[in-house]
Every structure is written in C-alpha cells, then in structure tokens.
Amino acid sequence: MAELHDALTRMAAEARWPATPELAGPVRATIEAQPADRSVPRRRGRGRRPLLAALLALVAGGGVLAAPGVGSGLLERLGLRNATVTQVERLSPSALGGSLALGERHTLAGARRAAGFDLLQPAALGPPREIYVDDGVVTFVYRARSGRPILFTQVPGSAGRYVQKFVTENTRRVRIAGRRGLLLRGPHAVLLDARGGATRVQEARLAANTLMWERDGLLLRLEAHQPAGELIRLARSVRAG
C-alpha cells in the first residue's frame, strides 16, 4: 500500500492541470449585473476596477488570431457557435467613423416581415426609436439618457452566416440569464456574410462596449457607451417582441 501511496503522490506532483482561468473579473461583472442582493449590501468599489484578463490573450498571448480553428473552437466552447473572434493590430479607420450603415429603416411590423424570424426586444429599453433591417440583420436603435445611441442587433444564426469581429481591447466572458456571452470592450468592426455567400462590412458601429450572446437561434449584440454591468442588465431584459 505504501508504494501505491507513493505512486499516487508522484502522480499528483506531476499532474498537468489546465491553466486556471481568471474568474475574479467575470464574477464581479455578474454580481454587478444582478439585481441588488438583500443579504449583502452593495458598496461602490474604490477606484477603478483592475483590467480583466483578456480572453484573447489567454489563447494567443496577443498578436493576430488568424487561425479560424483557434477562435471558433474557443467560441464554440463559449456557446457562440456562429461567431469568430479575431485580434488585429489596428482597426480600419473607416470602421470607427461615418454613418452607422444599419440598412433600410422600417416600422416594427415591417421589420418583422423583412426579418423572417421572431424579433426580440430588451424590455428595459422600451420601444426602439428607430429600426433598421439589412439583409435579414435587424438593428433597433435606442437613445440613452446621455443622448448617445444604444444598438441592439439580431443576426439569424443560420448555418451560412457568421460574424467576424475585430477586437482591439479586452474581451471577457459573462453570463446573461444563464447563457454564455462575450463582453467586447472598445472599438470594433463587424463583417457579415450576406445571404448568398458575399461578405459585407458593417463599417460604422459604435466605438463602445458590446455584449454578444446567442439565444433562440440568433446571435445578439448589444452595443452602447454603458458600463458592462448596465449592458448585462439590459441584456437580461431581452424578451420576445
């Protein structure tokens, strides 16, 4: 038995564990996004929150994640099967300015007809001020108290469609009502495969925080100049429209 004990001890010493993920940031984001807990009083943190470990850095240590297998495998793990995250050195200048290029403006009823899928809406934001449809991609535009826009985009998660995001700042995992999602900080651009196989660039999105998650066969994106916790709170309010 002593030799067995020694062998187990040696095996433990030689065990190669997977790297421990950074949990503190996602835990904090989740706590902040949840309704105030009656059992633990919330107090504002002192100073700026430390920057969270970038998800991309975990898998690539920076640089360009050009290999589709790396990003897609990681995102599949996250439950974001329709998305691929790629890190690039620099964004195209055209992706940071200009019009929002969200497509053709519609009424809600018109958007429902044009979309061809059941639309969702963040209940916490009320009715959208403007609605755009671009080849089946539906974007609701809201106005925040600051006057800045909030975008809620719904992309059908059909097999022939994917989204490629270029991320230049931290990315972290979040939970949205039990679903896995990604919080992308800072400027980004989105490439969409239009129906028929052509790739189209949605050039001018907001250089803001973006929350991305999947639900009901849709890839959902919520983009705004809002803190992560507020974005998650809004995302948790998404309901069938």
Partner: protein, 189 residues
C-alpha cells in the same frame, strides 16, 4: 518604498461581508485555482469547471452573510463549488480526462535514478492512471480530492458532500479497490 502587507483572508472576508466587492475580488483570486480544479475533478470538463467555479463564487457572494466566520472559508466555498459542478456534469463520453501525465517527467526519472528506472516508473504510472479510470466515480473522486487536489479531510468532505468522519473510511475503501486492479497488484506487490 515600503508596501503594506496584503490583507489577510479574515480581513477580506470581513470586508466582503460588508459589501466590499474589491475585497471579494481578492478572495476570488486567492481561491480560484482550487475552486477551478475541484470543479474540474467533478465535471471532468474544463469549460464546465470554469462555469461551475464562476457561478459558485457568485452564489458564495450572495450567501456570505450566512457563512459562519468561526469556521474556515475554504471548505464552505468548496462545498458550493462542488454542488455547482455536480449540477453541470455531462455524459461520461464527452468528458475530458484529467491531464495527468503517465511518466517520463523529470521527477519520475529522478525518483527512479536511471533511464531504465524512469521507464519502469512511467509504465507504473500509466498503469495507475488506467486503473484509476476504471474505478467508479465515488472512488475516483475521493482519491482525486485527497491526492490530486491535496484537500484536507474537512475540505474533501465538503467537496464530496459527506461527513468529515467518513472521508477516511471512504478513501481507504477506494484505495483497496484501486489496489485490487490487476495492474496495481503488480505495482504494489
């Protein structure tokens, strides 16, 4: 420049119970490795383990007021982690095996004292890994908690959801069954 010593776990706990999220973040960092690894032992899936650990920390935050400060924090936390991990178990066919190397490591060679000895050690460890895989879940988990995770009896009891007094007997029976495996009979004989 002299830096103040980092706050102790007791101080962080006290602050966190008062609603200090900064303190709780530090507590999470202190315990995230053992939480993740415990969840990994129980789920055998790294992604599931990460989520289980993350959700456990969130639940622990919400339950902090109920934590008995006269007791150590880690077993209490591990009980929550283990509960989350068990809820996330997937079918056995989809689980990844723990990345336990079965030999050829420097420590094995050093222990053996020669290349031939190292080879022998490697073969023994491979046999041990195979034998462990054939044990049932309960036996494998108690061995993993005590040897792989190096948890105390109290922590093992918390992780496995049993009384501390039963850990020793459960481990003893698990080791007996491990020893009864054909490969181990040769190893331990």
């Amino acid at each position: 420049m002299v830096h103040p010593p980092p706050p102790t776990e007791a101080v962080l706990l006290s602050r966190a119970r008062g609603g200090d999220l900064d303190a709780y973040e530090q507590l999470v960092r202190l315990h995230q490795q053992i939480a993740f690894r415990t969840a990994l032992v129980l789920t055998r899936d790294a992604a599931e383990a990460e989520e289980a650990a993350q959700d456990a920390f969130v639940k622990a935050w919400r339950a902090l007021r109920r934590f008995d400060r006269s007791r150590p924090f880690r077993p209490w936390l591990l009980a929550i982690v283990a509960n989350e991990a068990r809820n996330r178990r997937r079918s056995a066919g989809r689980r990844e095996l723990l990345a336990v190397r079965a030999g050829g490591e420097p420590t094995a060679a050093k222990a053996a004292g020669s290349p031939e000895g190292a080879l022998l050690v490697a073969e023994r460890d491979a046999s041990l890994a195979a034998a462990l895989e054939r044990l049932d879940e309960r036996d494998r988990e108690v061995i993993a908690c005590r040897y792989l995770l190096e948890l105390s009896e109290a922590e093992t009891a918390a992780a496995l959801g049993c009384r501390a007094g039963t850990v020793k007997s459960r481990l003893s029976r698990a080791l007996e069954r491990l020893r009864a495996q054909p490969e181990i009979g040769a190893l331990d004989g």
